[in-house]
């Protein structure tokens, strides 16, 4: 018996598997669009693995650089199986995502998805261009984050971090314009939570494993 117990323990250890956690339900991440006579169409997006790491450009001297790095680190850390990776690139002409510290332009047109964020001290918007058939995302995506009032506002850095994380959530594939209904999530439409909630993470996990209706094109 004394010999059997260690062998049984060793065999048990050699056959063990991780047990997954219980996950909270995700919020809506899809976009629903009217498609004429055929009714409502559902749009979903995630980055194909062959596009990773996603190339993000933000000017060296912009105050958004560190908040974008924080946002990248948060979303990369949230997805444990390498579903999303991003890196900053120095040449905007090679970028999949261009981030600017200026107000978003008006007149987005029919072929763009505009996703806003209205935090207390700053505003964010992500523009995703689609083709006419609503099957392709034409790169680059464009992210705008700018101060609501003065760029010298003492809370502006925190606001940039929150909004950069929010906008990168849209870039990742959370493209519902209705956002999360919970102010405890960074993907709430007027985000105040500086981080990722369990619901943000579980939503990102779901998004990262869907079969998307939109695929990216136009990478340079």
């Amino acid at each position: 018996m004394r010999r059997i117990i260690p062998v049984a323990v060793l065999l048990g250890a050699a056959c063990s598997d991780l047990i997954s956690p219980t996950r909270v339900p995700p919020y809506e991440y899809r976009q629903f669009v009217s498609s004429g006579a055929s009714g409502i169409d559902t749009l979903t997006f995630r980055w194909p693995r062959s596009f990773l790491p996603v190339r993000i450009w933000v000017a060296d001297n912009e105050p958004l650089r560190q908040p974008i790095l924080t946002a990248i680190s948060r979303w990369q850390g949230a997805l444990l199986f390498g579903e999303f990776r991003a890196e900053l690139v120095s040449d905007s002409s090679r970028a999949d995502v261009i981030v600017r510290n200026v107000p978003a332009p008006g007149g987005i047109g029919l072929s763009r998805i505009r996703l806003d964020a209205l935090a207390p001290e700053c505003i964010g918007a992500t523009d995703i261009r689609t083709d006419g058939t609503l099957t392709q995302v034409i790169l680059p995506m464009r992210v705008y984050i700018w101060p609501r009032f003065s760029p010298q506002n003492p809370n502006i850095t925190t606001c940039y971090e929150i909004t950069a994380t929010h906008e990168l959530g849209h870039v990742l594939g959370i493209i519902s314009p209705n956002h999360s209904p919970d102010p405890g999530d960074v993907m709430f439409s007027n985000p105040v939570f500086n981080g990722l909630s369990d619901r943000d993470i579980s939503t990102a996990e779901v998004v990262s494993h869907i079969t998307p209706t939109l695929t990216p094109t136009g990478r340079r």
């Binding site: 598997d17 991780l18 956690p21 990369q76 850390g77 997805l79 444990l80 390498g82 993470i201």
Partner: protein
Amino acid sequence: MQFPALLVIALVIVTPLGAQTTARLTLGGTMGTALASDELGGPVSLGAGVPVTAALSLAHPIGTGYRALVEVRAGRGSLHADNNGESSSIPGLTTVGVMVLVDGPVTSRVRWELGAGLLNYRPAERSGVFGQGGPTPWILGGGLSWTRPLSGTLDLVANGRYDFHQFRSRQLDSRGYTQYQAVHRVGLGIGIERSF
């Protein structure tokens, strides 16, 4: 490949350690089972790919035919993610293992070896399962070595190794994963063994 180069230098300059003490250097590869797996709209897993592996060991006789070995084994490769059949590689995973082993004769040219130690995961960047750093689990292993004399003090050696450890990282802990993932690895290496 700085690490193997350092091992070669160490082997060349190592000072005589006493009668029948041997130093062994091998280069090869290691294959392993998944470090973590889950079900997220389908099966997903993360493994260590097939890292290039270098091992340096010192052996000293402890009885008739038996030797005690101290071994440092380092692997450099990439993480391999499989998401519902879609694969991607995440570069920059180093593993460094230190083991104490005992070996003994099977035939005149083949020896068995068995031992235990620690294996340290050193990711290039803190992300994913390594978001809070790499773990250092216990490792158990064993294998066979085959030697063929090249000269009076130098042998050609081929080594096959199986080892096993339980993987779980702080990031997996913080996300609510429980238990451990059993990781089984098989390595093959070829190199030289020098007696002093």
